[in-house]
């Protein structure tokens, strides 16, 4: 039956259809090939971390197949989660990151709104300037910043160095410019008539922002939030430079400074700590991925 039906299709049409589907098949094969490469490249390190975290120190240093756990154990997890310091790092990281996200959003959203919608002298140059500040790497800034804080201490007597909350001042220098830039792009994709309609309806600029722009730009705001959180959570250089006491450390620096003692590397716990530390952003991404993509691509097409 099927054979009859197929043979009734004109040969030219069949050929055309076949070649198109062959092209598609090849495109699909290639995309899968590269996707698999990609997955291997990016998932091997976390997999290795997971494997190592389940091993004892003896097994890690033993000459066995490093990709296999012969005597799986949760000791690393128990020790790490049972130690007060790791939980302190975790708490510091969480408090810093969440606070930074809040501070960033409180600054970035209104400034992006002002820069994209309220026409004032120099707003264009200011918007570009905001982005340019993001391009300056923190490696260039941490020494002058350190000096600034020392001078600040000299004049005011307020000690900023080796306090975890100093990170609340430092991180926004990285997150605010980029988030402002993302939000400017997102707000630009909102039709101008929408705020004009709100203005005519009697809304003030603030009401236009809170009642129209923030709800409409929620995907963009979520994207910016995720970005700010990831940057704060993974930031290494600033906490390394500005905090030293165990009680003031955040996770990335805490793991390195407390689990590496001289030339003794506690690999099992380092891997466990890194894995646990990577979990919160991963969970956030998993839940908000769609918003993140929508937020980053909003400017590209008119929706």
């Amino acid at each position: 039956m099927t054979a009859t039906a197929t043979s009734s299709v004109p040969s030219s049409a069949k050929k055309g259809y076949g070649s198109m589907s062959r092209d598609r098949q090849w495109a699909l094969r290639w995309s899968y090939f590269f996707l698999v490469l990609f997955v291997i490249f990016f998932l091997t390190p976390p997999l290795y971390m997971l494997i190592t975290s389940l091993k004892t120190s003896q097994e890690i240093s033993a000459i066995t197949n490093p990709w296999w756990v012969f005597n799986p154990t949760l000791d690393n997890y128990k020790e790490l989660l049972g130690s007060g310091t790791f939980l302190t790092f975790f708490r510091n990281s969480a408090v810093v990151s969440i606070s930074v996200v809040i501070i960033t959003m409180l600054i970035a959203v209104p400034s992006a709104f002002a820069l994209s919608r309220m026409r004032f002298w120099g707003s264009g140059a200011l918007a570009t300037g905001v982005f340019l500040t993001y391009l300056i790497p923190e490696t260039l800034l941490f020494i002058p910043l350190f000096k600034m804080m020392a001078v600040f201490n000299e004049y005011t007597g307020i000690e900023l160095i080796n306090r975890w909350w100093v990170l609340l001042i430092l991180y926004p220098t990285l997150t605010v410019p980029f988030c402002t830039w993302i939000m400017i792009g997102y707000f630009a994709s909102i039709p101008k008539e929408l705020d004009e309609a709100a203005l005519i309806d009697g809304a003030t600029w603030m009401q236009t922002l809170t009642k129209i722009f923030i709800p409409v730009a929620l995907p963009g705001i979520i994207a910016a939030t995720i970005f700010a959180f990831t940057v704060s959570w993974a930031q290494f250089l600033y906490p390394l430079a500005f905090t030293t006491s165990e009680s003031q450390l955040v996770l990335p620096v805490g793991i390195i400074t407390t689990l590496i003692k001289g030339d003794v590397f506690n690999w099992g716990q380092i891997m466990t700590g890194a894995l646990l530390g990577a979990a919160p952003p991963l969970i956030i991404y998993a839940f908000l991925m769609d918003y993140y993509i929508a937020g980053l691509t909003a400017g590209a097409t008119k929706g």
């Binding site: 039709p191 008539e193 929408l194 004009e196 309609a197 709100a198 203005l199 005519i200 309806d201 009697g202 809304a203 009401q207 009642k211 129209i212 709800p215 409409v216």
Partner: protein, 366 residues
Amino acid sequence: MAEVHIRKVVKKYDEVLAVRGIDLDIRDHEFVVLVGPSGCGKTTTLRMIAGLEDITDGEIAIGGDVVNDVPPKDRDIAMVFQNYALYPHMSVHENMSFGLRLKKFPKDEINRRVDEAARILDITELLDRKPKQLSGGQRQRVAMGRAIVRNPKVFLFDEPLSNLDAKLRVQMRIEIKKVHQKVRTTTVYVTHDQVEAMTLADRVVVMNHGVIEQVGTPTELYHHPRTRFVAGFIGSPAMNFIPCTIQESGGQLALRVNDQISFPVPPARAQKYSQHKGNGSVLLGLRPEHLTEAKSQPEPGIVPFDANLEVTEPMGMETFVYFPINGDTICGRVNPTAGAKDGAPLKMAADLNNMHLIDAKTGLVL
């Protein structure tokens, strides 16, 4: 509800003059349409009335109060935008009530007004929906509803039908007219579509290059255009302009088009045009419906001539025919039974009782 007065209003963007000192008085309850090609300043004028653009010079008054420095929210106007500008995260009810809620109206009053507007616009069953669940026509109704509930002094429409397909546009045009008949709010409506202007307006304002060319009722503009621009802009297909010279032979004034064609000026108009005798650069303006197939019985003022049709467009109840005169393509409108065929000759007749004579240099209708 209120009158709108525009006095010598100028709008300048950097060095570009978008509106060059226009004067316009819009009466209470009136439906005025600003029409013109893109870039003629019509939308800028509307936005200045709304307060969305600053006025470079001049004065705008709504309801007797000069509003030059009054922010949009305090002008008591409502605007319907081309792309509807509905708040996407709010339901239809919330969209319509947004302005009233900002003004802290009591809940009962808000609901009463929204229900009333929804009833007028026949969108009662859509009140809980979000804008993205609505069709283009429904969105347009909601945008109008948002304007109606506010019960403003003036409605401003900025090309509200441009985003709709042709059929829906005709339908919504009628809806807008019905709504205006019910609520009678002073309305300023901007469009580039002269058909919309003619069908909706009490008075049409034709704009071009930042100035008002003519203000008048649709019939006035159609039958008595004051400039070549208005004559050509109003009416579809557009008026034909045939270059000719005014001559007098044997006491009879005539318009010589070329060696073959010379149209005698009807006696009723002869006196008016005689002062322009010898003017070598005048244009004879004739609408397609005044260029028809020749009748067997001669009528005064209707002059037959021979035409070689290039293209015919049968529309059903009429047929448009296109033929050359002095190298220009001229459009005529004939009866479908006249036997017009592509490439065939046809005896045509020009109805000079409805002619217009235009000075080609000044562009003014003589």
